[in-house]
């Protein structure tokens, strides 16, 4: 049985905020199913007591001095903004009107 169905892809794409066409959903479901089946071998390679590694070179608590340094001006920070108003990033409505 395939683990990745078109419905799964639709759900994941909506979580990832990517609009997908029906055609893309079908294609992605097939491709991802093959990939997931292959990468799933990791499940059998480890045991419950194997420690996990998230970072290759162990490091902990990297802090910087708490001093004020020059930073981007408001104008610089906005220089790549797709839209702006009153020195702020301008975006579409967050909530639906209904």
């Amino acid at each position: 049985m395939s683990e990745i169905t078109p419905e799964t892809v639709r759900h994941l794409a909506s979580l990832a905020r990517i609009l997908v066409t029906d055609e893309e959903v079908e294609k992605l479901a097939k491709e991802l199913d093959v990939i997931v089946e292959s990468v799933a071998t990791v499940k059998g390679a480890v045991s419950a007591d194997t420690p996990a590694t998230s970072h290759p070179i162990p490091m902990s608590n990297v802090y910087r001095e708490d001093v004020v340094k020059p930073s981007l001006s408001q104008q610089e920070a906005l220089s790549n903004a797709p839209d702006q108003a009153d020195g702020k990033f301008k975006v579409n409505a967050i909530l639906d009107e209904e």
Partner: protein
């Protein structure tokens, strides 16, 4: 005497210091070649003639005043387009960043500027460095100078084709699973991935933060070492940056004696899956090392069997969260659907239009690996495999100073060959991925011509923070090869000519 554009950066640097040539002359030479040949190779997304010449003039002034800040001062360089530059659009090969002009320089670029190295331009890559062929660049693929019908490797195929085609003497790349080493192998050049944290990632557009590392792309080992010396060093702007210095790589690269060197051959990367020609060249190199007095030991790394699988869970997971920043709010493209859409619909439409197929595939795969109910089984298991791979390396480096393998299973393949088979494309990286998972340094050096008379590569790995050991071994093997061939492998490459 070889032509000026084919000289290694180390020799160009000497000529600059002795006054035989100026940085402006060198920079113009490479700009002219880049402008003439880029229509063939598509190595550069942008060539920055004006700013490069300005930087070259500045370099000449510093050299004339005896104040050159670096050995490589005045040597022009190309930079992969996933490193931010304040004076050039930085796209990461993606349509979503088509017009993005960064507000800050990446630390690596700042270091190149501080060394007064003129930046010729920004090189092509698979979109957000996801790919092994540059076929996933939104701006068309780069071509392999050895055969323009074939891929130059990826993701850093722009830098590898620029350097192997002599459009630039040296270049910068980034390596998450082999994106420096694989392109080097298939173009007959040299590419090194330093120890994780040796080079700052500040201003590197993140793919997978625990795997990404910036490194040199060159035509010989000494140039790679010299360039690593320019770009390495602690950076407070990158919290994963190593605090300790690893020494001067150029000093290590000048030690070429392999007598007594313990060379480990990784059992899992010496047999199945490698093309016959690749395997034959690899066996010849082992014999060359034996004849030169190196000690060969076989090392067993059983967990490597799971490396590609673990990688293709960890990478998409990290990428899916890193690429969440492309939300059409602060920078990048914004696509407005019809009507009066909410911000969420704007994001979804923008990411649909702005991302290519491989990026979407990996974001969705990563979202799956991280989603509730699957997290422990997939992402969690992959992180445990990472520990097992590190343990395999630890044992291997107890028995050997360096480990070797072919860099890639094949020579350069043709465009389109693996485009519709993501899994086949992923398996290219079987030999390069373990180093990223463990954070250790790796380099690919030319290893002779294999299938279709195309270049193959030899990968040399060393323990974490032992980049120097890696450079000494690489320089030693390079010398054995060059003595055998009578010239560098890159000198066998056909001349690029515009009809």
């Amino acid at each position: 005497m070889s032509e000026l554009h084919k000289k290694p950066a180390s020799e160009l640097a000497q000529m600059l210091r002795s006054g035989e040539v100026t940085s402006v002359q060198l920079t113009e030479l490479f700009l002219d070649r880049a402008e003439k040949l880029n229509p063939l190779t598509n190595s550069f997304l942008r060539i920055n003639r004006e700013t490069a010449i300005e930087q070259a003039k500045h370099a000449d002034e510093l050299i004339a005043a005896g104040k050159a800040p670096s050995v490589l001062t005045g040597v022009p360089i190309a930079v992969k387009d996933n490193l931010t530059t304040t004076d050039a659009i930085t796209t990461a090969g993606s349509k979503i960043l088509e017009n993005y002009l960064p507000q800050y320089d990446s630390t690596v670029v700042s270091k190149l500027r501080a060394a007064a190295m003129p930046i010729l331009g920004k090189t092509n890559l698979d979109e957000f460095a996801m790919g092994s062929s540059t076929e996933f660049s939104a701006y068309g693929p780069s071509k392999n100078p050895w055969d323009l019908e074939r891929i130059p490797g990826g993701s850093g195929g722009g830098s590898s084709s620029a350097v192997s085609g002599f459009l630039a003497p040296i270049a910068i790349g980034s390596d998450t699973g082999g994106s420096i080493r694989f392109p080097a192998a298939v173009t007959g050049s040299v590419g090194a991935k330093p120890t994780y944290g040796a080079v700052s990632r500040y201003g590197l557009i993140a793919l997978a933060s625990s795997l990404d590392q910036v490194g040199p792309v060159t035509n010989d080992v000494l140039d790679a070492a010299l360039l690593q010396d320019v770009i390495a060093g602690h950076d407070p702007m990158d919290s994963t940056s190593l605090v300790d210095s690893l020494g001067q790589m150029a000093d290590f690269a000048s030690k070429t004696d392999v007598k007594g060197l313990r060379v480990g051959v990784i059992k899992q990367l010496a047999s199945d899956g490698f093309h016959p020609g690749i395997k034959a060249r690899f066996d010849e190199s082992i014999q060359l090392l034996v004849d030169a007095g190196a000690e060969i030991v076989e090392v067993d790394c059983p967990s490597f069997e799971y490396a590609v699988s673990a990688y293709y869970l960890i990478l998409p997971a990290e990428a899916s969260s890193n690429l969440a920043r492309f939300d059409a709010v602060r920078f990048g493209q914004r696509v407005l659907p019809e009507g009066n859409p909410t911000i969420e619909r704007v994001m979804a439409a923008t990411r649909e239009a702005g991302f290519g197929p491989e990026v979407k595939r990996r974001i969705i795969l990563g979202t799956y690996a991280l989603s509730s109910g699957y997290y422990d089984a997939y992402y969690g298991s992959a992180q445990k495999v990472r520990t097992l791979i590190q343990q395999d390396f630890e044992k291997a480096f107890a028995a050997a100073d360096v480990l070797i393998s072919p860099t890639a299973p094949t020579t350069a393949f043709k465009f389109g060959e693996k485009l519709d088979d993501p899994l086949a494309m992923y398996l290219n990286d079987v030999a390069t991925i373990p180093a990223n998972l463990a954070g250790i340094p790796g380099i690919s050096v030319p290893n002779g011509l294999a299938e279709n008379d195309l270049p193959s590569g030899l990968q040399i790995l060393a323990a974490a923070k032992n980049d120097g050991v890696m450079y000494s071994a690489a320089a030693g093997i390079e010398k054995l090869h060059n003595d055998k061939w009578g010239k560098r492998m890159i000198d066998f490459a056909p001349e690029l000519e515009v009809n």
